[in-house]
Symmetry: C2
């Protein structure tokens, strides 16, 4: 399950935060049809911290109805309070999740000891496997390799999603982590434009924003790496550079919303205070989607 | 209202996040008795993002029952979603708040345009004056002087709480801000151990963590500055250095929880995942509280 492409769709919702389950199911069906290795539901791209507990459950049930038995579903169950994260983890387990993604959502900066206890408590509340969601760009907490290693000794904590390092640091980070965790512990990365190099270097999984909307070009990269064709993978990744440039300039979340709306797959804005892109940037997204023949 | 000492109490609550209103009222009474210039309820020290809407309202009503007509109450109404922040702002207005503190709580990093729109929307929903709560340490959003200036043109946005700069930068920051905002716009600071210098330099307000538990030594500093005795103010601030050292080592939030418990004023832990200090650090807090004769 923590191998290959994990595709992270947005969670289309109205201005009041009510999930548009039909639009979500359309997105999930695209991923199932593309045979992604897993679906990262209610991740950062799925704006989980902006949705109520009830809506998060509705989203899981809607996605499971489409994907169950086809693509495993990883579900983000992070929350500001530990008891909330426990409740959300249990909800996810009941509603059909195959695994959890757990980020240390915080307002008050947390210590390593606090994050360890938080993860220990949430993991103990469920039977599902748990992936450590190391996302310093949103949580402002950074997992050291040592903390990942300590957490990896908890039986059902079986994977980590790290931000992809710059090309020059990929091997060193992977080697360091491999030496600290068990052989079966999955090492995966996010940060779409940098992930191809981590896969070529032997990473287990790609947690992908673009893959949540356009799974095909991502699956092509994953397949090229699997077939031992790194040059092909790099070429396919380079082909997507105009999209990466937009991700870097405007954030991947805002860009995939614009792309999904431009293609008519959804009609939804990100949750406020996040705003849709301004018209100029939106036009750039439409142009790139057309130029790259993404659909 | 946005002048002098604004004292920020913790919000004692049980493990399920239910506010202990009697303990909160004991804390508020200490502040009223010390004649603080205002009370910063449900600030970062009051762990507002960890409390439900209903509990936040209960806390405001309990505090207002003690402080109304004596010390004005500023209430933190930040939330992850704009519509939630609007609802919380209206709740606060109804429940007896005299002003709002608004921080751009975020998970997805926000742009200046998004924060401006968020503040504009929340401010328009209430008649209360609003203080911009610039707290990069928790929100990871930093207000530029230019953004503060733009927001200051909204009629009921009347104050900013900035993190206190290092001593060498105080005058320059105050001068730059003064030149950009109206004469009546209040410039205040948090970061207890650095604030005395900002008051001496002419800042309007001190948003204080320690003042929420021990208002007397803070009021003494504020009075010394008001009476034109900067050397006395600096001496009083230096006397508190053992406490500042603990704040820097363990965070002011965790230290005031330990101090309030040590003195028997409350019996409460911070909201999980935040943990109480470990025994060693707790003992240091007790020793410093005794040595400085804080009570």
């Amino acid at each position: 399950m923590f191998r290959g492409l994990s595709a992270f769709p947005i969670t289309p919702a109205d201005a009041d935060g009510r999930v548009d389950v039909e639009a979500l199911q359309r997105l999930v069906k695209r991923l199932v049809d593309a045979k992604v290795d897993s679906i990262g539901l209610l991740g950062s791209t799925g704006s989980y911290p902006y949705l109520s507990r009830a809506e998060r459950r509705r989203a899981i049930e809607a996605a499971a109805a489409i994907a169950k038995g086809k693509s495993p579903i990883l579900v983000g169950s992070g929350a500001m309070r530990t008891d909330e994260a426990v409740a959300l983890a249990r909800d996810a387990e009941e509603a059909g999740a195959d695994a959890l993604l757990l980020a240390p959502v915080s307002y008050t900066p947390l210590t390593d000891r606090e994050v360890f206890t938080h993860f220990e408590t949430v993991a103990a509340a469920v039977k599902l496997p748990v992936c450590i969601y190391n996302n310093p760009g949103t949580t402002h907490f950074t997992f050291s390799a040592g903390l990942v290693a300590r957490l990896s000794r908890i039986a059902n904590i079986v994977a980590v999603k790290n931000p992809a390092p710059d090309a020059g640091h990929v091997f060193a980070q992977l080697e360091d982590l491999r030496a600290r965790v068990g052989r079966d512990f999955s090492l995966g990365f996010s940060g779409d434009w940098k992930v191809t190099e981590t896969l070529i270097a032997g990473a287990d999984a790609w947690y992908s924003v673009v893959g949540g909307l356009f799974p095909e070009p991502c699956m092509a990269i994953v397949r090229a790496v699997r077939e031992g064709k790194p040059a092909d993978a790099r070429k396919l990744n380079a082909d997507l550079q105009p999209l990466w440039d937009l991700f870097i300039a405007h954030s991947s979340l805002r860009v995939v919303y614009a792309a999904a709306n431009a293609l008519g797959i959804v009609k939804a804005a990100p949750p406020r205070p996040i705003l849709p892109l301004e018209p100029d940037a939106e036009r750039q997204v439409r142009e790139v989607v057309e130029r790259l023949r993404l659909r």
